[in-house]
């Protein structure tokens, strides 16, 4: 019988080999192939690639955990990160595909006949992509260190090397076909444990049905039982929200508009052969994403119930081994506040500060001791939310190869997203900055070389950020959506649907949206975190949802400024009419 580590080496090694073989077979030979895969990608394949591009380490590893710990309130992520595709498919993707060209700043720059607008778009695209990619590289390092006992730095370097090979060699072409493979790996790795657990807990192979059923021989449904457990332990009911409706609406909408405005997702729709293919491929993309996104809430319920059943009021000595394994990797901590040797899991933070810092010594029951001050509430347990996906197979006692599969899936999710983001950075530099601004006389061959070099440099910077993550990365990633919602999304939307929208209106709208959203976030998250509560928020909207307000300001300012400035030039208005019409076959 093979151990977990052997299985992990085997599965991760095999998947990496597959990515490299694909990379070598799909090298790019022109900028068209490097930027947009020569527009030869079939809609179904583009759907898979988009799904892998979109589903990051956070979707794969953290999302089910976030939902598991926040219950109904976690729905904002489920709806926000899928609902954005409807906006993308109906309002943006077909027209941007009709427009053609290579990048999002291309569209902004030409539609608003302004290098300033192009430059603002380039800076936004690079900023959003880098903050996002640092998180992916970190995810790669974490998976390596948990499952293969390789330290984070070496893990990140291995990940960089793999991305380097297929992004620099193949550009969009290489990335697209590796992403197709990565989608298959990650969805298999997510679904297998979910189906196993659904069979064990709910007696059905379909998790989406299982978590809304009554298990055989039980009186209560899973959800009713979990609600009961939550009430008993002092948490709010799992299926009920915190009740701040305005805030939930604002966050959901900001995530939706932000998703539709993220450059690495939009750029995928430039790679299909036609406008029709762009529409269809958006449908496929969301279908492939929905498989994971509708399973995650089921996993969240199974894992939450399992966790409470396994640890609550059990003595430390009788708790299964996985608890101690994850305690040894700092993701679980227990402080025996009442000295009875039993784990009490209640609402509230058990520790102050909330993240545990471990000492060398062991306590009376054999638990790791902490330097944190225990808080005054009854909760004795700290659980990192990432455990819900990473440790779920162990908690449920699944076979070794399933546990190993989770590692390969997490890596596929992180690498595919990282590659997509790095391509945005590289094209922004070689195409938008060099070719379209600084060196218009650049030949195609030189531009391709510049694209490869900037991809290579971007991989190295991303790796550096992954090894030395600035403390604010996690915060910033969440707000990338707010910024995209307040800037890119309205600018592109008005560019297509309001023919008379002009340069002055669009730029002032983007600037107002960006500055308002960024200042609100910086004020509450970085300058005065102690004021970051619902009483101080404007209209009760948290910094996560403020992008929605920024978006409204963007529209208003753009409309007002447009009304007393000159119409766009005739050829721009003609271009808008042009992208609205179907292609001539």
């Amino acid at each position: 019988m093979m151990g977990v580590t052997a299985w992990t080496y085997l599965l991760v090694g095999a998947s990496f080999l597959l990515y490299i073989v694909i990379a070598i077979r799909s090298r790019a030979s022109s900028t068209g192939e490097f930027y947009i895969a020569g527009q030869h990608v079939p809609p179904l394949a583009n759907g898979m690639a988009t799904a892998a591009d979109w589903m990051s380490a956070a979707s794969f590893i953290s999302m089910a955990g976030i939902i598991s710990f926040s219950g109904y309130d976690g729905s904002v992520y489920l709806m926000g990160w899928t609902g954005g595709y409807v906006l993308l498919a109906l309002l943006l993707a077909p027209y941007l595909r009709k427009f053609g060209k290579f990048t999002v700043p291309d569209f902004i720059g030409e539609r608003y006949y302004s290098q300033t607008a192009r430059l603002v778009a380039v800076i936004c695209a690079i900023f959003v992509s880098f903050t996002y990619v640092a998180g992916q590289m970190r995810g790669v390092g974490v998976v390596f260190s948990r499952f293969l006992e390789i330290d984070v730095t070496n893990g990140v370097i291995i990940g960089m090397a793999i991305v380097f090979i297929y992004a620099v060699l193949g550009g969009m072409k290489g990335i697209t076909y590796t992403q197709v493979a990565q989608y298959c790996v990650l969805i298999f790795a997510f679904m297998v444990p979910a189906i196993f657990i659904s069979l064990m807990v709910a007696g059905t192979a379909i998790p989406q049905i299982g978590f809304g059923s009554i298990p055989d021989g039980e009186e209560l449904s899973l959800l009713a039982r979990l609600d009961g457990l939550h009430e008993q332990l002092g948490f709010t009911k799992y299926t009920l929200g915190s009740g701040n409706t305005i805030n939930l609406l604002a966050i959901t909408f900001a995530l939706m508009a932000g998703t539709a405005g993220l450059p690495h997702v939009i750029i995928r729709f430039y790679t299909v052969p036609s406008v029709r293919a762009a529409r269809q491929s958006a449908g496929w993309a969301l279908l492939f994403i929905a498989i994971l996104y509708t399973t995650a809430p089921a996993v969240a319920v199974f894992a939450r119930t399992n966790l409470i059943d396994t640890v609550e009021n059990k003595s430390y000595s009788e708790i299964p081994r996985w608890f101690k394994d994850w305690e040894n990797t700092d993701l679980i901590a227990w402080v025996d506040k009442d000295g009875d040797g039993r784990v009490k899991y209640r609402a509230g933070n058990a520790l102050d500060p909330a993240k545990p810092s471990f000492l060398e010594d062991r306590g009376a029951s054999g638990e790791r001791l902490l330097s944190n001050t225990p808080t005054r509430n009854a909760n004795e347990l700290y659980v990192d939310r990432d455990i819900m996906v990473l440790a779920n197979p162990e908690i449920a006692g699944l076979p070794n190869w399933v546990i190993a599969l989770v590692a390969a899936g997490g890596l596929a999710a992180a690498l595919s997203t990282a590659a997509g983001l790095l391509l945005v950075v590289s094209t922004s530099i070689s195409h938008d900055l060099l070719r379209k601004w600084l060196r218009p006389d650049l030949s195609d061959r030189d531009e391709l070389l510049a694209a490869r070099i900037s991809a290579g440099v971007a991989v190295c910077i991303a790796g550096y950020l992954g090894i030395n993550p600035p403390g604010f990365v996690a915060e910033v990633v969440a707000f990338a959506f707010g910024l995209a919602a307040a800037s890119f999304f309205p600018a592109i939307l008005m560019g297509i649907f309001i023919k008379r929208m002009n340069r002055e209106g669009a730029i002032s709208g983007m600037l107002v949206g960006l500055i308002f959203t960024a200042s609100y976030i910086i004020y509450f998250r970085f300058l005065h975190p102690e004021l970051d509560t619902v009483e101080n928020w404007w209209w009760g909207i948290s910094p996560k949802g403020i992008g929605t307000v920024g978006l409204c300001f963007n529209f208003m300012v753009a409309g007002i400024v447009r009304s007393f400035t000159a119409d766009p030039p005739a050829e721009v208005m003609k271009m808008v009419e042009e992208i609205r019409l179907p292609e001539v076959k």
């Binding site: 939902i67 709806m79 109906l90 049905i209 299926t239 409706t245 609406l249 909408f253 029709r276 509708t294």
Partner: protein, 91 residues
Amino acid sequence: MSQDSDVARQYWRKNLKIISLLLTIWAVVSLGFGIALAPWLNQFQLPGTEFPLGFWFAQQGSIFTFVILIFVYAWRMNRLDDEFSAGQDGQ
């Protein structure tokens, strides 16, 4: 030429009609059923299951609806594109 732009204007108007209908459904299902009306809907259960209805819309139903909306849009628009090019050929 004027007939040409007439066909184009009609095409665009139809497109806007389809978009507004589908986006209305999009908003009602997610922001409406999934959030604003969820507490009230939770008194009912999704028929045949034990899901509180509002909770189900927020975590499952809205996502299924989104997928269907995009495919419906692709199908309707691709048909409209065909009509449009047929209309142009007939000039």
